[in-house]
Amino acid sequence: MATATAPPRRAKARRRVLGDLTGWGFAGPATVVVLGLSVFPALWALRISRQRWNGIAPPRELGWANYERMLDDPDLFAAVQHTVVFSALFVPLSLLLGLLLAVALNQPIRFVGLYRTCIFVPFVASAAATGILASFVFNPQFGIVNAGLRSVALPPQQFLESTSQVVPVLVVISLWGSVGFTVVVYLAALQDIPRDLTEAALVDGANRRQVFRYVTVPQLRPVTVFTAVWQTITALQLFDLVYTTTRGGPLGASQTVVYYVYYQFRELQRYGYASAVSYGLFLVTMLVTLGMVLYARRRGLEAF
């Protein structure tokens, strides 16, 4: 037989080819799907970002003109401002609220399972459902929030229909839908803290507050850095909720960067400029992430 008499080197090579075929047989389909839906379009977006294109007419090469235009676009500047304000409120609040609720849910008290269920449930609600529900709850005329304000003799508010309140209200809605995540992460981290540590501190005469401040909080720092980075990336890309509540309004007051990308893309058919803005956001996000990680490193925290 040919295989039996073949020199060992060829048999080895054949086995390697077979191994490669088996390996890629397993890994190939998913790899093609994942890379085909991420790396490939991401590179394509880079090309589109240097063109003027409406999706129909032949594209025209512009060089970096789309990127230069970003520097001189007041609407984009406003969108950046809204996104920054949103993130600056959302990230710290989601961490603080997550930590507070995780500590509370970590107590050996009654009904804790019920509380946990209640706090986690909104996490499964979609952005579309959350948006509609929020428009109802914060409705200036018959929303339950204004009903609550009236019942304690406070003036009703315009909420999502006010240019000054819309971003903070979006923060509240986002927190409602996503705080379950930070709670879960902190809860897991709290349960990972070795009992010996807290017990030793208690034996040494520390009170509970001191144990929390000097034992628990330092132990939670790595997970805090990780969660902060994660939530920042999420916040900088806010889109779904804006679409399903205000569509950028009133008067563009809740237009975020990604909403602006969507608007340029779908409403104005500016494929090139939309891609350039999304690349700009991508670069800024990377820089912010890198900055946070480096800052954490310098303070001696290994979060990644």
């Binding site: 389909p29 994942v34 839906l37 394509w44 107590q107």
Partner: protein
């Protein structure tokens, strides 16, 4: 409450901590743990909107628009029995007779099912390949896949749309499920899981003459249930709740997913609150019920992924 303290003490396994903390606990100025003061109102704030969503879906619009607002429906109204001057458009009957919501639910069901099944198959295969098999390009491939988690969705909007248009996927439900066929997260999760399994079992099966695929299918996959459960929930949440891709690529009402349809309602039926709320209920309840049934797995998934736009 005395019982409360007793049960608390019983929950603390170590006598040392109990002894040390006992004096602090003795200073209770409330008959229950003060943590309830934090948790009870918070829990209420988190569920109240959902409760109101369900209650409102049973009201008709004239009742919803009444001032001052009502929380409880005066009667269970399915939206069909409009008396004089009543707007009969709202509620469940309006939802199912006047809108293609049934079609959208069905589309979402197909999208989620295809997504989950494809995810389970493709990601567990790839995860096993990257964890256990030796082949050329394995490390580069895995490195690239992990690297893709840094690419944000917004960057992909334009080229993916153009790609879908050229492949003829625009305005079909395929545009909604193709992005959910496989994910870097799924591959990574499965690989980590397979790496954590001891390889002795697989070696033994191999010696007994089992093929690579046989080992994967008969030995490894049955052990991977927890990871597969996490992956199922991840994909189900993502695919069922996804808004971006259907929004970008589907403009034909017949191919809408339920989320895409809801987002459209927001624009076209802005004031028909009972219809909006019943739409919300039918879109959200499947996941809420699944969550209540499998809370542990859901929480495990939440810990792994941070997914939520």
């Amino acid at each position: 409450m005395a019982q409360d303290t007793a049960s608390t003490a019983a929950d603390v396994p170590d006598a040392v901590e109990h002894a040390v903390t006992a004096p602090v606990r003795g200073r209770h100025w409330l008959p229950f743990s003060p943590w309830h003061l934090v948790l009870a109102p918070t829990a209420l704030v988190f569920v109240l909107p959902l409760v109101q969503m369900v209650l409102t879906s049973f009201m008709d619009d004239s009742e919803i628009n009444r001032f001052p607002p009502r929380f409880w429906p005066s009667s269970l109204d399915l939206g069909g029995g409009g008396g004089f001057g009543r707007e009969a458009a709202g509620g469940y009957i309006g939802l199912f007779t006047q809108t293609p919501v049934l079609r959208w639910l069905l589309n979402s069901l197909v999208v989620s099912t295809v997504g989950v099944v494809a995810h389970l198959v493709l990601c567990s295969l790839a995860g096993y390949g990257f964890a256990r098999l030796r082949f050329h390009g394995r490390q580069l491939g895995f490195f690239l896949i992990v690297g893709t988690v840094m690419i944000p969705t917004q960057l992909l909007l334009v080229p993916t749309y153009v790609m879908f248009a050229r492949l003829g996927l625009v305005d079909t439900i395929a545009a909604a499920f193709v992005p959910w066929l496989a994910s870097a997260f799924g591959i990574f999760l499965m690989r980590q899981f397979f790496l954590s399994l001891p390889s002795e079992l697989e070696d033994a099966a191999r010696i007994d003459g089992c093929s690579t695929f046989g080992v994967f299918w008969r030995i490894v996959l049955p052990l991977a249930r927890p990871a597969l459960a996490t992956l199922t929930i991840f994909t189900l949440l993502g695919a069922w709740n996804d808004l971006v891709w259907p929004l970008i690529a589907i403009n034909d009402e017949d191919a809408y997913t339920i989320q895409r349809g809801l987002a459209d309602f927001q624009g076209t039926r802005r004031t028909q609150w009972s219809l909006l709320m019943s739409g919300n209920v039918v879109a959200t309840m499947p996941l809420i019920v699944a969550f209540l049934l499998a809370q542990r797995q859901f929480v495990a998934t939440m810990t792994f992924s941070g997914l939520k736009g």
